[in-house]
């Protein structure tokens, strides 16, 4: 219900404005938001992407007319269950740490002959990116309820964690923002959105472990790369390249911080 949904949002954010002077109301507001989210989660349209993703995995596509069933997401060729909660990780064949999306690019190129650079240059929600969105929805759903267990045993994994940590704390741009400005303290909120303290394990698990997610506001399924892109925008930084090392480093930092601290609920539903 487009118009009504909008009215609800306006109503709740009007309350949120009053929060600083009325602490008792803050709880009621958060409870109200939590209830609203519960109602949404009942019928999470991300399931529509999951269904499509599962089909795509098994569909012979691309110049090589091959499926993705031999794709190695880190648990062995074709193993999907549990892969999501152990990414990013180091892959010996590409000699680099990869997150789910950059790994999918590798599999699409090597198995199906779909050029990775072309997919990376495609805008979100269009063409092959739309397919990636369906694939990440299904692949993440296959690890629903599992604890994060992102590896740090390989030297490259350790390095990417350290790079990610630095990138997270790096401040710059017109507002001197870093990820840490918005995600480095407990109990912060921008309008309706709780801002997780991503430097802390439980919040990192909750925040990192929710994406990919269906966004009610746009009716789209957003991958982690797209989530990060939007945070770069909020930070007034230029968009990073799709699947670039800085995005993978950030995910490594967030994933490792989340290790053992909570279950993956991806693909979640967000406003």
């Amino acid at each position: 219900m487009k118009s009504r949904k909008y009215a609800v949002c306006l109503g709740v954010s009007a309350l949120a404005l009053m929060v600083p002077t009325l602490p008792a109301l803050a709880d009621a507001t958060s409870d109200g938001i939590a209830h609203y989210r519960e109602l949404l989660a009942e019928g999470n349209p991300a399931e529509l992407w999951e269904m499509r993703g599962e089909e795509l995995w098994r569909e012979a596509r691309g110049p090589k007319k091959a499926t993705l069933e031999q794709c190695d997401l880190g648990q062995g060729a074709g193993v999907v269950k549990g892969a999501f909660v152990t990414l990013p990780r180091y892959f010996a064949d590409t000699k680099r740490v990869q997150d789910l999306e950059s790994r999918l690019l590798t599999c699409m190129e090597t198995l199906q002959g779909i050029p990775a650079a072309e997919v990376a240059a495609t805008p979100f929600g269009k063409g092959e990116q739309e397919n990636i969105e369906a694939l990440v929805a299904w692949i993440s759903a296959e690890s629903r309820g599992m604890q994060f267990n992102v590896p740090t045993s390989h030297p490259e994994e350790k390095r990417m964690y350290e790079v990610g940590k630095r990138a997270f704390h790096f401040r710059g741009g017109p507002h001197d923002f870093g990820c840490v400005t918005c995600h480095g303290d407990d109990g912060k909120r921008i309008r309706l959105q709780d801002l997780p303290n991503l430097t802390q394990p439980a919040d990192a698990a909750r925040g990192f472990g929710a994406w990919p997610a269906y966004r009610v506001s746009s009716g789209e399924l957003w991958s982690m790369q797209r989530r990060l892109n939007d945070c770069f925008r909020q930070q007034r930084f230029p968009y990073p390249l799709y699947g670039s090392d800085v995005t993978i480093a950030l995910s490594t930092y967030l994933g490792v911080t989340a290790n053992g601290a909570g279950e993956s609920i991806a693909p979640a539903i967000k406003r």
Binding site: M1, K2, K5, P45, E47, M51, R52, G219
Partner: protein
């Protein structure tokens, strides 16, 4: 053409609960594209649910229903193994029908 619906139907012995996720733009006809042109309305107009061929729900949908709508309802009766079918028609004449076995 619209993608398949996700339907779940579960019986508790006396009632069957049905949950349906539909894949549809549900464009209101009120919005404009970046160039200022009106985006034509495109939404489901009628929805029908049947249990073993008998209509248990029939509804009219319009532009006030969200994109990728979710519908949940219950009907009396229904047993494990029965068939529940959900069908819709939209204002452009597109149709979709999907079936599920009651669990």
């Amino acid at each position: 053409m619209a993608g398949p619906m996700r339907i779940r139907a579960a019986s508790n012995g006396t009632e069957t609960e049905v949950k349906v996720l539909m894949s549809h733009e549900m464009e209101t006809g009120q919005r404009k594209d970046p160039s200022g042109a009106l985006i034509p309305a495109h939404h489901i107009t009628e929805l029908t649910a049947t249990h073993n061929g008998r209509v248990v729900l029939s509804g009219q949908f319009g532009p006030a229903v969200s994109k990728n709508p979710y519908l949940q309802f219950r009907f009396k009766g229904g047993a494990k193994g029965d068939k529940v079918t959900v069908s819709w028609v939209d204002n452009k004449g597109d149709k979709r029908s999907d079936e599920v076995v009651v669990s």
